[in-house]
Symmetry: C2
Amino acid sequence: MLDGLMQRTPLQIIGILNHAAVAHGEREIVSRLVDEPIWRYTYAEMSRRVAQAAHMLRELGVRPGSRVSSLAWNTHRHLELFYATPGIGSVLHTANPRLSDDQIVYTITHAGSEVLFFDKTFSSMVARIRPRLSGVRTFVALSEKWNLEANLTVASSYEELLTRQKSSYEWPVFDENAAAFLCYTSGTTGHPKGVLYSHRSVVLHSLAAGLAGALGFSAFDCIMPCQSLYHATAWGLPFVAPINGCKLVLPCEKMDGASLHELITTEGVTFSGGVPTIWTTYLAYLEQCGGNTASLKQLVIGGSAVPRAMAETFLRKYGVEVRQIWGMTETSPLGVIATPTPKLAAKGENLTEETIWTKQGRLQFGIELRVVDEERRDVPRDGKTPGTLLVRGPWTIERYFGDDKSAVDAAGWFDTGDIATLDDDGFMRITDRQKDVIKSGGEWISSIDLENIAVACPGVRIAAVIGAYHPKWEERPILVVEPHPECAVTADQVREFLEPRIVRWWSPDAIIIATIPLTATGKIDKKSLRDKYKGYLINTRKYGAHSEPK
Amino acid sequence: MLDGLMQRTPLQIIGILNHAAVAHGEREIVSRLVDEPIWRYTYAEMSRRVAQAAHMLRELGVRPGSRVSSLAWNTHRHLELFYATPGIGSVLHTANPRLSDDQIVYTITHAGSEVLFFDKTFSSMVARIRPRLSGVRTFVALSEKWNLEANLTVASSYEELLTRQKSSYEWPVFDENAAAFLCYTSGTTGHPKGVLYSHRSVVLHSLAAGLAGALGFSAFDCIMPCQSLYHATAWGLPFVAPINGCKLVLPCEKMDGASLHELITTEGVTFSGGVPTIWTTYLAYLEQCGGNTASLKQLVIGGSAVPRAMAETFLRKYGVEVRQIWGMTETSPLGVIATPTPKLAAKGENLTEETIWTKQGRLQFGIELRVVDEERRDVPRDGKTPGTLLVRGPWTIERYFGDDKSAVDAAGWFDTGDIATLDDDGFMRITDRQKDVIKSGGEWISSIDLENIAVACPGVRIAAVIGAYHPKWEERPILVVEPHPECAVTADQVREFLEPRIVRWWSPDAIIIATIPLTATGKIDKKSLRDKYKGYLINTRKYGAHSEPK
Ligand SMILES: Nc1ncnc2c1ncn2[C@@H]1O[C@H](COP(=O)(O)OP(=O)(O)OP(=O)(O)O)[C@@H](O)[C@H]1O
Ligand SMILES: Nc1ncnc2c1ncn2[C@@H]1O[C@H](COP(=O)(O)OP(=O)(O)OP(=O)(O)O)[C@@H](O)[C@H]1O
Ligand SMILES: [Mg+2]
Ligand SMILES: [Mg+2]
């Protein structure tokens, strides 16, 4: 081989902010805060505060390679840590504050963090778990000093620590494979697992995610991430936005309809995204208030399957394009995204919408994808045959943090644990998680498909399908339905809606009206539903085919 | 430091085609050819032929690290070599067929190539220089066998060599810093210098060039590169297009107005680009025929300064947006590109257009830029103070091929040899090349500015300003003007047009109507103009200030 003779500049995350500060220095970042007025500054100003934050971290004894945890919402201070921490070569672990105390203690301890930054919201939680966080030396409240409560005197104030620092920093140059962020999976199927992103993986992911077939941001966009900063680093938005010179609007924890609507209309938000539950809530708010979505053009939604009905309403009534995205913490998270192609367009508008709204998305540069059967042979690319989804590429995990064995096979393929189909147009559809698949008499029933149909039933807010033990068929689907507040939906109504829309043997053996538990990232908590309802058909002896419970 | 735990998949160029083949397999590549009908196939089919080409290269004894040269136009066969050669770990040297025999022999010899692929157009040239290419073992005509001429029996036919090969290839995985392409600079200021691109530099450049602030291609675009494939790898278009799923249209050598127009209208071209001379010609064609530009939306033009008048006419009369780009072979070549920003937009349409049409472009992610004075201190970012332009980044050169010393300073900055200003909106303007700058009585006169004004004079096709010796002022500008064919422009008319538009001391001491020589990449050949006219003022004794020659 012959070596190329180009510069080997390492891809470093701080380079993204440095770029924004000189190329889009005047572009704004607007942030809601906990118990403080809205904050507003520019990339140029942010870059100076990030330098101060870096000095602060060094002063707190944070060294290259060591970990720092955050328990924080989507705010500019949290964002500053996104640049300052990797900037000095340390690793930011963005803990998920919606986990249980036990899980939070578990992840911060597993991360081995020395410093914990937390929003005021979490002061009592921090006070509670503090004795169990023996590795954490320093607690810093992401707040002004005047805003600290008396019981927080144990902690310093971020602002106070910051002010005395210099506003420029000689950013060290180091290997782009160095760790930058530690994010834990949602814990939907078990213990949360740690994914250790590198500078390289983050920068490459940000470049690819900016392309037109993915997020397609331009300098004229105003981005409001409703993806949590702690969840797979908000799907890369904190990086894709500054690379492309976009304005950033950070909603703190205020993800209710009215609060989002206020920011969208006053700040001129063109693009947002997040998990489906947030946008179901926002849509309900819009329907109730009769408002319009102003400048909003696009929502990228994923984390769980996007109900077609929601995407359709957003477009038809509000002119907002919903793009479904599939990804995992393990894929940084961009996997596929449902953007149109000329091939689809040639098939007409109906088919385009059908595809865009019912499939998770299409192949993207930088992430290879295979759907395989049990012998790891590729299944036909017919959009029908399901199989195990494998992925590979420069922003896919190689191994979990703390594991000594690789998470990928010899050829580098990572098993996602998802079941999917792939079609000839390059679109992938998730039919289930491996663990959620319902095996009825040897045949598979897709819980996601059933849920998507059920959620289109008027009055239904969330629908969850799980497999319950059945003496004859091994497993049969049962459907749990949570109505919109103040809607009284009955099991009969839901069944009536379902029957003409599904094949007969998919018909749930029970339909239950109940509140559906969500996980820390807003997904349906099927583990706990299964714990509760797994024996339902046997206990209630309601296991005649298509029998109707209570 | 702590290592990240993501996959370290090397960025390899063949990955781009592999992606296009599975994600956009049916998207077309359409190619004109020399003496053959138009060729039309898909990325999926191309990928199979590229595999065949790889087997062919191995059969010809091409090994990893060794070089292969091409003397070829923009055709699908040339494009196949763009993937097959780096795919097997070898290096494609794209020789510039518009250079002189001597220079072509020099570059192929300097490259150390073992195989030469050439288009039929060059058969007699190849026959001529063959005895001087002692290192080249094998000559392959990029043609069908039936299309080979008798005098070419010394060479094999590409198609014949291809057909017997297998249409799949086990692409080797190797270090992304391996060399992929060898491109020589245009030789505008001296001997052409070799730039050795790596897989990494090409892939990173392609990702960044795809972003909205740069080329912004979407899957719906149809791209026709009129940038030569041999010139800085056609500005990355052969890679940016497949990454984004674009249709590709290759015009072979037919860059005349009528031929381009035919492809644009019949193939639905949305995007093209190249050096200004091509688009001056195309505009003249349009003006003459009164045609419209059909689907064409955007032209990215660079390599030399883009006359404002051309950009303005393209927009006002044809609705085509001209985006100026500045770059060098040494920068892969994306440096800056003149796309709008909200900051500009806020200043109003006039100022936006003024900026977009008179500056080379704005800062892009991945290429850092400094404008410095003689002591290497940054000059003010006021859009006025000129200085030497330095660049740095992962697709900027580190050293020239065959050189043992680095081309960059200790901090990694590469001196472009261009003089530029930078403004507060992040826009850069090239005022001159260091070697072209005219120093009149210690003050600098920008040859590019003068040329831009002169070329707006009705009837003027190209304008070139050079410095001529002057006994009192050291140098004074003289202007050489080439009129449009069949336009009779006089020096007096040009002077009359100029005078009210420039400061008095910039007024050229002589205006000469003559044919302007162009270099091998279509730039004004100032070296030869200087050879011819350097002594003009002294010889003609026309050196009274603002005197009028002839
Ligand atoms: N658009 C989508 N449609 C359906 N499922 C999705 C979609 N996007 C993401 N998912 C699901 O979310 C998973 C990734 O989520 P995440 O990384 O947040 O953790 P998790 O898998 O929910 O939790 P854990 O791995 O700890 O069990 C995917 O594997 C997939 O099952
Ligand atoms: N938009 C532009 N406006 C003005 N000049 C440009 C523009 N784009 C490119 N250039 C000029 O072209 C140069 C790069 O051209 P290229 O790499 O093809 O070789 P060259 O510099 O012309 O030749 P050589 O380096 O061999 O003398 C830049 O350094 C700059 O001088
Ligand atoms: Mg998971
Ligand atoms: Mg040059």
